[in-house]
């Protein structure tokens, strides 16, 4: 039999080892699943395309960075909220709303060339995401309605809203009736930081934001407040922390960041608002946050790892005609193993014989 004995102190070795163990187990399981499902394709070459090629080929590596940026920004916001025990599961909706709000600014000033345009779009994106997450915060505080369900339901609504906007006010008047906005003006596009690729300044902003958040959580009282609210709600109450404030801040921060990521995506790789904006980043960022153990700097690394699976998944789709859903299987399994392996930090696993 197998038993879990609580450790007196968390194991430092396991804090570092458990992610590696989880990765190894995920790779092994993926290998076994592929052997089982892919009869006529050599599994090792699929593996190479999935996990190695994006790292050694400069084009694929740049695409990896393009995809990592929104995951970092959204994952960062979610990790702050999750620490406080506020489960914003609908970042996808806030991402879409931010994208719509920011793009509306770009479309309104479509022939203006100005330095203030991009910052204004970013502010609109943040406000769009904040507004959308704010609905959930309001309903939770006023009516005790669960924020998991509200944010999720609203993310479905956001996708339909995007579609109605693209067939209505934001549609390109000279676009042959395609459900797309007009192309953004050059000064409304994210500056490219790696010439010849699509890597834009959003990546640097994401890294900066992570460090700001890390510093803020460490030094600011608010960091303490969300940590205590999440791990010991009663203690938070006795300490006089305002519960409603925690809900508002958690949802507004995560919503605002998701909105910013949405605008970056529209003004970055796409250059216009399209129905393809919702790319599941909002949901995947949940995995990013957990893989980072809700740590702001950890988010940078887990976002890169998840972005690797995205790029690898697309390559496998092109090279071997396999569905992109391989990515989701991989991500789901990774989170399973990661959660399971983290048990080793708090508990010792002991085998013992059952006496009969």
């Amino acid at each position: 039999m197998l038993r879990l004995i609580p450790r007196v102190e968390n194991s430092t070795a396991m804090v570092l080892l458990s992610p590696l163990l989880a990765l190894t187990l995920t790779a092994l399981s993926a290998y076994l699943i592929f052997i089982f499902i892919l009869v006529d394709i050599p599994v090792s070459s699929v593996f190479f395309t999935l996990f190695v090629e994006p790292l050694i080929d400069s084009y694929y590596f740049s695409e990896l960075l393009v995809k990592a940026a929104p995951l970092m920004i959204i994952g960062l916001g979610l990790s702050i909220g999750f620490r406080a025990g506020i489960w914003n599961i609908g970042a996808e909706g806030q991402y879409v709303m931010g994208g719509i709000a920011g793009s509306a600014v770009a479309v309104y000033f479509f022939d203006v060339e100005a330095l203030w345009l991009l910052p204004l779009m970013a502010i609109a994106g943040i406000l769009g995401g904040m507004f959308y997450a704010g609905i959930a915060a309001f309903l939770r505080i006023k009516y005790q309605v669960n924020e998991i369900l509200v944010t999720l339901m609203l993310s479905y609504v956001a996708v339909f809203f995007l579609s109605s906007m693209l067939q209505g006010p934001l549609q390109d008047p000279s676009g042959f009736n395609f459900p797309e906005s007009r192309m953004f003006h050059d000064s409304a596009l994210m500056p490219i930081i790696w010439q010849g690729t699509r890597v834009h300044i959003g990546l640097i902003i994401a890294i900066l934001l992570s460090f700001i958040a890390w510093f803020g959580i460490k030094k600011h009282m608010f960091g303490m407040q969300i940590k205590i609210s999440g791990s010991a709600p009663r203690a938070a109450k006795f300490a006089g922390f305002d519960d409603n404030k925690t809900v508002w801040y958690s949802l507004l921060i995560s919503g605002g960041l998701a909105g910013l990521a949405g605008l970056f995506e529209a003004a970055g790789p796409a250059g216009q608002l399209t129905p393809g904006l919702p790319a599941f980043y909002g949901f995947t960022a949940i995995i990013v946050a957990f893989l980072a153990r809700l740590h702001p700097i950890g988010v940078l690394f887990s976002a890169l790892l998840i972005a690797l699976s995205y790029v690898g998944g697309e390559n496998v789709q092109i090279d071997y005609d396999l569905p992109k859903s391989i990515t989701q299987i991989f991500q789901g399994m990774l989170l399973f193993y990661f959660l399971a392996c983290d048990i080793l930090i708090k508990y010792k696993v002991v085998f013992f014989k059952t006496k009969n």
Partner: protein, 309 residues
């Protein structure tokens, strides 16, 4: 409104609400035992795929439904193992389950996207089904419709009329106390989670076997999440699940028939209705319960249990 349209609307509502009834009644038992499984959507989609695949290869609807049940249970067992034995966070594990289920079903189901199967047909009882109005309304639904109602009754009977049901509810309300008097908390919870998986599996299969006889990636379209909302709406009371599900079914049918009534709202706004309705209904429930604490919510919902003895 003529009789034919009326009957069509009633049948349409029933077909839209049955997947929700199955998924929600399963999750209700899970939550009554004190576990929050956010993987309903993932278990449903796996059920939808397996039911479809088995129906396509065997043409036997009984086997198809059975396969969907088993598929839901297998996926649920991952959740049970992780949360009950390895004590992982239930919210995160449930989400991982949904992502995994969506991905796995899309991957395995890619060979079945362009085939059509024989829909499971409604029953026809001679004489009874032929009675005007009453016949079609009472005696000629799909067999799974009757099964869903029976499952609701069965769950009510189990939870409130049997000793095991009482123990399960006790575990959901106070797992430490239940453990102290000798009940096996983990075993009850694992059973409840597996039952939840089986029900979500059938609910999913109803979509691919009855509602539309085709398989499509992500065809559950958030119904698993709506089912989670339904459990809250029902205040964890089995029979209220039926009312809630009919309400949602009605809204989604309204969305289909609105075009017929010359209502000029764009299609996108109509499609938002079921999701917005979920929020509105949850809010209105809280307004109704104002100043009263909701006593039916299981106290240990989502909390991790680890026995030190």
């Amino acid at each position: 409104m003529n009789e034919g349209l009326f009957i069509n609307i009633i049948i349409g509502i029933s077909i839209a609400s049955v997947p929700l009834i199955f998924a929600a009644i399963g999750e209700l038992v899970v939550e009554r035992s004190g576990v929050l499984n956010l993987g309903v959507e993932g278990m449903m989609i796996v059920g939808a795929l397996l039911g479809f695949v088995v129906q396509f290869h065997t043409g036997n609807p009984f086997l198809a439904v059975l396969a969907a049940m088993l598929g839901g249970m297998v996926i649920a067992s991952i959740f049970a193992f992780l949360t009950q034995l390895l004590l992982t966070n239930q919210v995160a594990t449930g989400l991982a389950l949904t992502l995994f289920g969506l991905g796995l079903s899309a991957f395995v189901g890619r060979a079945y996207t362009e085939v059509v199967i024989q829909r499971i047909t409604s029953i026809h009882i001679p004489l009874l089904s032929d009675i005007p109005l009453v016949g079609p309304l009472l005696f000629s639904f799909n067999p799974l419709v009757y099964l869903s109602l029976f499952m609701v009754y069965l769950v009510w009977w189990f939870l409130f009329k049997t000793k095991q049901g009482l123990i399960l509810r006790a575990i959901g309300d106070n797992h430490d106390a239940a453990h102290a008097i000798g009940h096996n908390v983990v075993r009850y919870r694992v059973m409840a989670i597996l039952f939840g998986g089986a029900m979500a599996g059938i609910g999913g299969a109803f979509l691919s076997l009855v509602q539309v006889p085709i398989w499509g990636e992500g065809m559950t379209a958030g119904r698993g999440w709506i089912a989670l909302g339904l459990v809250v709406f029902a205040s964890w009371q089995p029979f209220r699940i039926i009312f809630g599900a009919i309400l949602f079914g009605g809204i989604s049918i309204l969305q289909l028939h609105a075009q017929g009534f010359d209502i000029t709202i764009s299609a996108q706004y109509l499609s938002m209705l079921p999701y917005l309705a979920t929020i509105v209904i949850l809010v209105s429930l809280r307004i109704r319960l104002k100043n009263k604490t909701n006593r039916t919510v299981p106290n240990c919902l989502g909390r991790i249990f680890h026995s030190t003895t």
